[in-house]
Amino acid sequence: MMRPFLALMLNGFREARRNRVTVVVGAFAFGLLVASSLLTNLSVSTFDRVLTDVGIGVMSIVLVLLAVFLSSGMLSREIERKTLFLIVSKPISRALFLTARFAGNMLTLGALLLAMGVLFFGQIALYGTLITQAQFVAIGMLFFELMVLSSIGFAMSSFSSQMVSATVTIGAYFAGHLGGDIYELSSKAESPLLQWVGKATYYALPNLSRLNYRVQATYEIPTPVAELAPSMLYAVAYSAVMIIIAVILFSRRDFK
C-alpha cells in the first residue's frame, strides 16, 4: 500500500516541478524578495522589521495563491482530462489516490516554502540582521496554514469545478483570518438565532488567524512551543476532517 502511495505522491511533486506555473511563481517570489531589499532602503529606523514583514508576507501571498491553484484544480483537472481513468482503475482505493495527491501537493508547497525560506534567511544574513526564533515560527506555521487551505481546496474540488473550488478556497482564506471578528459580532447580536449562526460559522470556518505568527516575527516576539502545539494540532485535525469529506464525496462520484 505504501509503494503506490509514494509513487503517486512523488508524481504529484514531479508534476508541479514540470509545471511552468511553479517556475513562474518561484521567479516572482525571488523578484519580490529582492524588491524587499530595495524597500528597506526607504526605511531607516525599522530596517529589520520591514525586511521580515515584507519577506514573510510575500512568501505567504505567493504560496497561498499557489496552494489555491494547485488544490482547487488538481482533482477537477484530472476528472476533466480523464487522466484519472488510468489511475483509479489500478488496484488502489480512491482514498489512497486522493490522500497521495494531497501529500504530493503538500510536498510541493513544503519544498517551495523551504526554498523561499532559504532565500529569506540568506537575505537576512546578507544584511547582517538578527535571525530570530519568531521568524522560524512564522514560516513553519505558514506551512500549516497552507495545509488547511489545500485541504479545503481538495474537498471542494472533489465535487465541484475548478472555478467554484478556487472561489470558495479564497473566500475561506479571508473569512478564516476574520474568524475572531465573526465570533465577536455574533456575541453582540441580540437574537439568539443570529448568535448561534455566528458561532456555528466561526467553528465551521478555519481559524487561520491562530496559525498566523507574522506579527510576532516582525516584532521579534518569541512563541513557546507549548503554545504552538495546539495550533498545529488544530490545523492537522481541520485538514483531516476536510480530507475525510473529500474522500467520502470522491469515492461516491461517477466519472462519466
Binding site: R3, P4, A7, L8, N11, R14, E15, R18, N19, R81, K82, T83, F85, L86, I87, V88, S89, K90, P91, I92, S93, R252, D254, F255, K256
Partner: protein, 323 residues
Amino acid sequence: MSAPETLAIETRDLSKTYRLGFWMNKRVLALQGLTLAIQPGQVYGLLGPNGAGKSTTIKILMNLVQATSGLARIFGHEPTAKEARRNVGFLPENPAPYEYLTGEEFVRLAGQLVGMSGHELDQRVKEVLGAVGMSRTAGLQIRRYSKGMVQRIGLAQAIVGRPKLLILDEPTSGLDPVGRREIRDLILQERERGTTVLFCTHIIPDVEALCNRVAVLVNGKLAREGSVQELLTTQVPVVELIIEGLGPDAVRGLGHPLEQVQDLTNRVLVRASDVHVQPLLKSVLGAGGRVAQLQPARFSLEDLFLQAMSEAKHGTVGGEITS
C-alpha cells in the same frame, strides 16, 4: 468432480441510469438489465453503436461509475473491491496519460501502482515498451506524442502488470492501418498467453478477427449474444438473385416477401430468404423475367449488427431518455 471455474467477468441484470438536468429530472437509461458471463481465456467483443452502453458497462466493471442496480463481478469480486482490479489491465477510450511524464515514466508509474518495483519493474517496462513499438520514443514527454503513440502507451500501461484480464475500450480507434494491425497482433499474443480480453468497439472487422464471442448492445440492452459462428449460422439463410427483364416495381408486385430490392440499371438485385426462393423463381419466370444469377448471400457480423439496430428502431445515441 472439479469446482466450477470462476468467471472472469459476470454481470446480472446490470443497469445504469444517469440523472441529468438542473433538477435531475431527466433520466438516461444507459444500461438496462445486462447479463453477461465471460469465461477465462475468452476474447469477448462488445459491439454496438455510439451510446449503446458499451463504455458504461466497462466503466461499471472498472469502478468508474456505480451501477444503479444489478450485479457485476470480476474474478468473483465486486468492482468496488481493490482485488477486482488486481489482475486487470484497462485501456479507456482516448486514453489520457499525464502529459508532463515521458512514456517510460508513465508506464513505470502504472507498474508501481500494480505493486511492481526494482529490477522486475525495470525489465517489464522495457519489455512492454518494446512490445508496443515505443522503445525509441519512450524518453519523450507524452505531450509530444501523436494519437497513435498515446494509444500504444495506453496499451503498454495496461499490460505492464501481466494482467489475467484485459479490458480495452476502442483499442484501435485513431490508429492507422499499420498501427491497427500491430495492436490486433498484440491482442492475439495476449490471447495466446491465456489472457481474457473484453473489448468494445464498433469496428466490426476487428471483432471478426479477434473474438471468440460477441455481444451486441443496442439502446443499453443486450440484442444478441453468442460465438461469432453461432450468431452467423443461426441466421435464416438468404439468397441473392439478379433478375433481368423486370423492373423493381414489377418484382415487388409479384407478392413475395423480399428483404431487399435494388435497381441495377436494366437488372434488379433481390435478396430473399431461402424458403421463399422457389416460389419467387416461378413467379419471375412466369412474368417473363430471366434469372441471370443466383447465389447464397454471406451473412456477416455487420449484417447482424445492422439487423439488431433496425430491430431496436434506431434512435440509440446516448441511450434512452425519459423525463
